[in-house]
């Protein structure tokens, strides 16, 4: 049990901290949350700065500990979140790095790292959410292309994406997990219609996507034909295992702000509120320690995060919702004012127990894959 960082890691941290100190004050003001082209430009602009300074590849090439330090320092400094390109940086990129050919890595990774190319995730379908393997979007081989027809839903940031990590059914006769393939689809291909959906927070965060005979080159398939489910598990392990890590730091900062607000408006004097904030702080501190534990395990076992990510995701998603419910309690009547960022964040936090696999599904995973309980019928 060693929580000290090596001299090398500390040096990395110090250099990063210096760099953040010089570059953050020069960033342009943040765009309006509803201005999607503006958000893309802002987020990818930030990614470009990271790229030019040599920090882009911390997203998957660096050691897990360096990545942890990166997330810790960027969050602490209040740097922008990965934002529009979270799919590219946090799971499509790592998947291609782990499963793609040399050529595919060379084709896609630079664009992800530099922020020039934004990715989205086309996994879910109207009839295939938790039961992802029942997806029906068809891909039929025609020469050197797949012809893809079907529809996807809840595709985050589809409006501004250049590429889509797309799951398709390439063998309708195989058992449902066996006939799936993982494709990189250019979002400019003819036959794609994106229709934005409005979230309960009022933004068009995600979209429906209709695919009508979209031609995707066979060379864009990552992994073997019909072996897409295995590749998908790699993607999901990144999505659940590492994609939320930086947010824990952010939540701890938010909790500090909440305590300050409570002291200012007097609700801190209520021992019930004070004690619940204390409990929540203990939970987030422990979640950070759990992250360090998971990272140590991943570092020792060679990179791809394990199912420990599900343990983390379960606890984290509920704690995050509790945090914003506490914020509402502290704010009192102000909790009804959408002009306050707290309240918009409260609405957004409602998705955490659903997106990237619902809490019920995570509990199944913990019970079946970690505890070895029998699979349900």
């Amino acid at each position: 049990m060693d929580l000290t960082y090596t001299a090398e890691e500390e040096e990395f941290r110090a250099r990063l901290r210096d760099w953040l100190g010089t570059v953050l004050p020069k960033l342009p003001p943040r765009p309006d949350p509803l201005d999607w082209p503006g958000r893309r430009a802002y987020d990818t602009g930030w990614q470009r700065l990271l790229y030019d300074a040599g920090y882009a590849d911390v997203h998957w090439d660096a050691s897990p500990t360096q990545r942890l330090i990166f997330l810790e320092e960027t969050e602490r400094a209040g740097a922008p979140y990965v934002g529009a390109n979270f799919v590219g940086l946090l799971h499509a990129g790592p998947t291609i790095a782990a499963e793609g050919t040399e050529e595919q890595r060379a084709r896609w990774l630079p664009g992800v790292l530099s922020g020039d190319e934004v990715w989205c995730q086309g996994f879910s379908e109207p009839d295939a959410g938790s039961d992802l393997a029942s997806l029906r979007t068809r891909a039929v081989r025609d020469g050197d292309a797949y012809v893809v027809t079907g529809s996807k839903i809840w595709t985050s940031h589809a409006e501004v994406a250049d590429w889509c990590e797309l799951l398709v059914r390439t063998d309708p006769d195989a058992p449902k997990h066996r006939g799936i393939s993982w494709l990189a689809m250019p979002m400019t291909s003819p036959g794609i219609t994106v229709r934005p959906l409005r979230t309960l927070a009022g933004s068009t965060e995600f979209a429906e996507m209709f695919l009508d005979e979209v031609r995707v080159p066979v060379g864009n398939r990552v992994g073997a034909e019909n072996d897409g489910w295995r590749v998908t598990m790699v993607t999901l392990s990144f999505e659940r295992g590492t994609a939320f890590v930086g947010e824990v730091v952010a939540c701890r900062r938010t909790l500090g702000e909440l305590a300050r607000a409570a002291r200012e408006n007097g609700s801190w004097d209520d021992p019930v509120i004070r004690r619940r904030l204390g409990r929540l702080a203990a939970e987030f501190a422990a979640l950070w320690r759990l992250t360090q534990w998971n990272v140590s395990e991943a570092q020792a076992s060679g990179g791809v995060p394990g199912v420990g990510g599900s343990v983390f995701k379960l606890q984290y998603s509920h704690a995050r919702q509790e945090l914003y419910d506490m914020a509402a309690e502290v704010l009192g009547p102000d909790a009804l004012d959408l002009g306050q960022e707290w309240n918009v964040d409260r609405l957004s936090s409602l998705s955490y127990t659903i997106a990237a696999g619902t809490s019920q599904i995570q509990r199944n995973i913990v019970a079946e894959r970690i505890l070895g309980l029998p699979k349900g019928r």
């Binding site: 049990m1 060693d2 929580l3 000290t4 960082y5 090596t6 890691e9 500990t65 942890l68 909790l255 500090g256 305590a259 021992p271 004070r274 004690r275 619940r276 904030l277 204390g278 409990r279 702080a281 203990a282 939970e283 501190a285 422990a286 979640l287 320690r289 759990l290 360090q292 534990w293 990272v295 140590s296 395990e297 570092q299 020792a300 420990g308 343990v311 379960l314 606890q315 019920q360 995570q362 509990r363 199944n364 913990v366 019970a367 079946e368 970690i370 505890l371 070895g372 309980l373 029998p374 699979k375 349900g376 019928r377």
Partner: protein
């Protein structure tokens, strides 16, 4: 940074687990329950000989020279096995009360209004003047209650943190044991033609137990490394919760069997309740963490 256990730490944990399996297995536990809270002096001396109490004393002082992280592993195993006795008070007294380190002398200490194992102890730390016996909820933890007038609570300052941490480690062991028990039972017990662990309602109870246990583990181990008082308070809070809720859920998974004296679940629950009330109960822990916000 590498937060995982070192090989030495794993070996230490395995050694203690092996010692307890040999000297305090389930039969011994049930015999201790039947004996109604009398302390096994021979076992106490064996623990002493194995370094249980002297673990953190420097080698020059006849100790083992290890630190809090190792002590936490020891107490986790003690919690898993439901090892009875004023383990924490004696461990903390090693080096100060002659004979404690060797397990020759049993030391207990008052904490708040409660003192455990008062009649069995050779040395009592803190003012216990008018202490009156309580019919303890835990058959393996005799308790006395000290009227509030009798002096202030002791052992607070430098050692309260260590006591809370070691108590949290015991809770962690208990939480881990009840999770294992629930999972084993869920794989074994057949209803409606299948193992009950295949039912999602049961499965999700078990998953929740593991999540709380692992969260507590991360908190307890980290607090042992940093010895930070706020982290210790948080660890105690989460470990109390993991142990108490874990035992309750384990009881639920066992159905009617869980409600019997025969099953060990109630022993875990009752001990968890006692520990949760001692060495920094929830209210104090929450206030301590909140104060640092």
């Amino acid at each position: 940074m590498d937060f995982r256990l070192t090989e030495d730490q794993k070996a230490l944990r395995a050694g203690v687990r092996e010692l307890l399996a040999r000297r305090f297995d389930r039969d011994a536990l049930r015999a201790a329950v039947d004996a109604g809270g009398t302390l096994d002096r021979a076992l106490w001396r064996e623990l002493g000989a194995a370094g249980f109490f002297a673990l953190r004393l420097p080698e020059e002082a006849g100790g083992v020279g290890l630190g809090l992280p190792e002590a936490v592993l020891l107490f986790e195993e003690a919690g898993r096995a439901l090892l009875p006795g004023p383990l924490i008070a004696t461990h903390l007294a090693a080096g100060e009360v002659p004979g404690a380190a060797e397990g020759e002398v049993v030391v207990t200490a008052r904490d708040g209004a409660l003192v455990e194992w008062l009649d069995a102890a050779d040395v009592v730390l803190g003012e216990t003047g008018e202490a009156v016996p309580v019919r303890s909820v835990d058959p393996l933890t005799p308790l006395h209650r000290v009227p509030s007038a009798a002096g202030t609570a002791v052992s607070v300052a430098p050692r309260a943190g260590a006591a809370a941490l070691l108590s949290a480690a015991e809770q962690l062991g208990s939480a881990s044991a009840t999770t294992d028990m629930a999972v084993a039972y869920a794989k074994d017990r057949i209803q409606f033609g299948q193992a009950i662990g295949g039912f999602q309602a049961v499965k999700h109870l078990c998953a929740g137990m593991l999540v709380r246990t692992e969260l507590a583990r991360a908190a307890v181990y980290a607090a042992a490394v940093t010895a930070d008082p706020v982290e210790i308070a948080g660890a105690k809070l989460l470990a109390d919760e993991a142990a108490v809720r874990g035992a309750r859920d384990c009881l639920q998974v066992h159905g009617g069997m869980g409600f019997t004296w025969e099953a060990d679940v109630h022993l875990h629950l009752k001990r968890a309740w006692v520990r949760a009330e001692r060495w920094m109960p929830a209210a104090a822990a929450e206030e301590a963490v909140a104060a640092a916000l």
